[in-house]
């Protein structure tokens, strides 16, 4: 599903955020991306979401090389990927329902379909009773569940998450991880960046370890 070939990313001073990275995440797999701060986890996710472009090498997702996409193609690609952020990134002026249905709305899906799928996905994350609440009226865990619902509403084949439990207490973190496990059980490929080793142990999936922009510990390691 995800493949990087000799992927490097350097910033202004020539310092490597990622160096010659070759990794693979198979279709339907659940993998963790871990490492200390500055290891390159977020950089890799930003490259996968095309927020940045590689300095060298290739990024291939779903068999498609992302290096040469045009602006509109980038937006179309992003609509096929679900993304969950540490700070939730919800639109504060829109209700929970609007935040989730927004993605379908801009795709021009029929209103009835928008309502049905938004309700279903919000029910799946257990927030069907908070449809008209604003994000600030929800707890951190609830806001992250909304973000997960938004990531899933388009039924993407790939979900990327950058420290999705970084702002949550351990109980809520486990709850969120269960959601990721559930979506993976339905066939969605999941790549979660986290430095929470306890959480990784608890979930028990393959771990891609990064340090100073390089992969360490081999491609098949587990904690």
């Amino acid at each position: 599903m995800i493949e990087t070939q000799s992927l490097s990313k350097t910033y202004g001073g020539g310092e490597y955020a990622l160096r010659d990275l070759n990794l693979k995440v198979d279709k339907g797999e659940f993998a963790f991306l871990t490492g200390p701060s500055g290891a390159g986890k977020s950089t890799l996710l930003r490259l996968l979401l095309l927020e940045e472009s590689p300095s060298e090498g290739e990024v291939i997702v779903g068999g498609r090389n992302l290096s040469h996409l045009k602006r509109d193609e980038i937006q179309a690609y992003r609509r096929t990927v679900g993304f969950v952020f540490q700070d939730f990134k919800l639109i504060q002026t829109k209700t929970i329902f609007e935040n989730v249905s927004f993605v379908q709305r801009v795709l021009g899906r029929p209103v009835e379909e928008q309502r049905r799928s938004t309700y279903q996905v919000l029910k799946w994350v257990g927030l069907q009773h908070r449809l008209n609440a604003l994000p600030r009226e929800l707890s951190g865990g609830e806001q992250q569940r909304v973000a997960i619902a938004r990531a899933l509403v388009n039924e993407p084949h790939l979900v990327l998450a950058d420290e999705p439990t970084g702002n949550l207490d351990p109980d809520l973190s486990l709850e969120i991880m269960n959601l990721f496990r559930d979506m993976n059980a339905r066939g969605t490929t999941v790549l979660v960046a986290t430095h929470d080793r306890e959480l990784i142990k608890w979930v028990g999936r393959r771990v891609i370890q990064l340090d100073h922009g390089e992969m360490v510990g081999g491609p098949e390691s587990r904690l």
Binding site: R78, T80, K89, G108
Partner: protein
């Protein structure tokens, strides 16, 4: 929902949120368009007066009191034989006095106080401008001046044309001023739209990350500019209409009377639509430029 419906909805919400800055922007556009509309209005009416004046008697030949009927008839005959003369009309001293009293009733007392009729008799000549123009009229004027019975000649087309030139220059200056004001208005709209962009930067970032098409990301800002421009131009048209109706109620008959145009003229439907479209266009252009900040 279509991108247009979505943009309209979002733009309206954003306008309501921007409050005072949106009002400033609408005000600036309105001022620019009131200026433009004012110039248009004055221009339309001044042009009407000038057209009438240009069509009115162009050469007045005043006769000596001692001029005989033969002198007058010979002169009329000579004038009628000239190819550039369209019409010849004799105005006697009595007719001139009556005309003055009718045109300026408030000055009627002066004419009675003078005693004897002070007006000379005259021959009013209307010229065909296409036959030789001003040079031919000058020649005719010189030729007539030497004929018996003629005391003075007033040929007013030249100063009228100078007046037309001055009005045209004033109109250009007005258009330039309105253009500069409109540019200022466009910058104000762009600044307001930029403020909206800034206020919604988090939302825009999220929209980009979830893959919203650019038409959905930028559309609301283009429509916001368009609405600002359209509302500004509408306000301007309402202000101009009120000003016009107030002015024409207070001064209309006097102004129209002096100008000899019967009644003041308001902007036509074409000018109305052009101004409205102008406002919408300026606003949309400013919104488009501002929305380019989203990359």
């Amino acid at each position: 929902m279509s991108v247009v419906g979505y943009s309209l909805e979002e733009a309206w919400v954003s306008l309501r949120r921007s409050g005072r800055s949106a009002l400033v922007s609408i005000g600036t556009i309105a001022i620019a368009f009131v200026t433009l509309g004012g110039f248009l209005l004055v221009s339309v009416n001044v042009q009407g007066v000038l057209d009438q004046w240009l069509q009115a008697a162009e050469m007045s030949i005043y006769l000596h009191d001692t001029a005989t009927a033969e002198d007058r008839l010979a002169l009329e005959q000579f004038l009628r034989s000239q190819p550039m003369v369209a019409e010849v009309e004799y105005v006697s001293r009595e007719q001139a006095l009556e005309k003055f009293r009718a045109d300026f009733p408030e000055l009627r007392d002066i004419t009675t106080g003078v005693g004897e009729n002070p007006f000379p008799s005259a021959i009013e000549v209307r010229l065909r401008t296409e036959n030789g123009g001003d040079a031919a009229a000058d020649n005719l004027s010189k030729e007539v001046a030497g004929r018996p019975g003629v005391s003075d000649i007033r040929y007013d087309r030249r100063w009228l044309q100078r007046l037309v030139g001055a009005v045209t220059t004033a109109r250009l200056a007005g258009a330039l001023a309105a253009g500069i004001l409109m540019l200022g208005a466009a910058f104000t709209v762009a600044a307001v739209v930029r403020l909206s962009l800034y206020a919604r930067r988090d939302e825009l970032e999220i929209m980009q990350l979830v893959g919203a098409p650019f038409s959905y990301i930028r559309g609301p800002f283009v429509v916001e500019g368009l609405l600002l421009g359209g509302i500004g131009a509408t306000v301007a048209l309402i202000v101009i209409s009120i000003l016009y109706s107030t002015l024409s109620r207070w001064l209309g008959s006097d102004l129209a009377g002096y100008g000899g145009i019967g009644q003041l003229r308001f902007l036509g439907i074409t000018e109305f639509v052009m101004m409205l479209l102008g406002g919408v266009g300026v606003g949309a252009a400013a919104g488009t430029v501002a929305s380019r900040a989203v990359r």
